[in-house]
Symmetry: C2
Subunit: 227 residues, 2 copies
């Protein structure tokens, strides 16, 4: 009853963009485009696609390549209706899952090498996004992308992922520089550096005017450089 089943709706959305998809094409699409903001194992796709058929939201068609079967899917009228309904529901919150950051959080329990390995992983995660972005972005610019007609929304997604990726890489770079600075520093110096990092970040938060309640003396003056 309370089933949101986002993955199923994601597939439904793909089905709505083209008249027929083989399961393989669906998985390829998820690998290429959606994995960075809705990552799922490929076996899940097979499962969900079958589920859609079971609910009458898609229909399947069998064909053969040699003696090996293949299933293709197409959206039904009921499927389109369900998709519209879903798109009108409130979105779920964004979540980030960053195991390397957990390791940094617990970093004092481990080694310097472990800390650096965590940073390296985050940098690699960002690079992986950019690597795909370069290929896909150039396709759109060339006008040859598989869903060129969707470019107006895809550009927004592209912008998101690009910034996300660069955030990861830049953070890894900054943090590595901090680790480098630590060597030869006293505990006091390290602490001072850390507090400065926190202060720098806080200074850049725009205080939300909506929620400023009691007294403005609480706020730091001189933060008037908003864009």
């Amino acid at each position: 009853m309370r089933r949101t089943a986002t993955t199923a709706n994601a597939i439904l959305g793909l089905l709505a963009l083209r008249r027929e998809w083989s399961t393989w094409e669906l998985t390829k699409q998820l690998r290429r485009n959606m994995r960075f903001f809705w990552p799922r194992a490929e076996s899940q796709i097979y499962e969900e696609a079958k589920g859609l058929v079971g609910k009458g939201l898609a229909r399947d068609r069998q064909s053969f390549t040699g003696k090996r079967g293949r299933t293709s899917y197409a959206i039904t009228a009921a499927g389109r209706k369900q998709l519209k309904r879903w798109l009108a529901t409130p979105p779920k919150p964004t979540t980030l899952e960053c195991e390397p950051l957990l390791r940094v959080f617990l970093g004092t329990l481990g080694t310097d090498a472990a800390l650096r390995a965590a940073l390296a992983q985050v940098r690699a995660d960002g690079s992986a996004v950019l690597d795909v972005g370069r290929v896909v972005g150039l396709e759109y610019l060339a006008g040859t992308a598989p869903f060129q007609d969707q470019v107006v929304v895809r550009a927004l997604v592209f912008d998101f992922l690009s910034h996300h990726a660069r955030m990861l890489i830049d953070w890894a770079d900054r943090s590595e520089a901090v680790l480098d600075a630590w060597s030869g520093q006293s505990d006091e110096q390290r602490t001072a550096l850390s507090l400065q990092i926190i202060r720098d970040n806080l200074d850049r938060y725009p205080v939300p005017s909506a929620s400023l309640g009691a007294d403005p003396t609480e706020l730091r003056s001189g933060s008037g450089e908003q864009a």
Copy 2:
């Protein structure tokens, strides 16, 4: 067959920082600090804590508040050993799960209002991080944070989350401006704007001289039937 069980290790890490934790304190900690990079349902904590005891990595202690029981946990020597081992293993990739972005991806199938709702959610997600950051950050600056001695690593986490949050908010702002620009624009103008967004992002990628070349093959979604 590798059992990493990151959530269990996360709890183990908390246990290593203090001599005893009640389950409630563990859940509170996860809500306050870790939920933005390792979000888990609270019921999971109870489960995992029991699991740690079962494996001898922690021991539990029962007490009472009135007639109601309470369980507290402490790490064992074996637990510390396991924790060290885990910290030395390679980190897992970062993943982002952004349902609003999926909605933007499929945005042409829905309404303008739905698109804006997705952006609003992302902005809210960023704000939620900053709201906690303000409180926690000031605690560290004041020297009164519960784990003040961990400030050197916590500052790095703080830096990450601050930038992540601002990335979300800035993207929502930019994208909303794009939606505003769309009204009164022709399809050609919208497309031009979108391509410009993609171009701007690509221009800012440093092309990694190391991994040039590779494959432009991956594209080509077959069946060139496009609307």
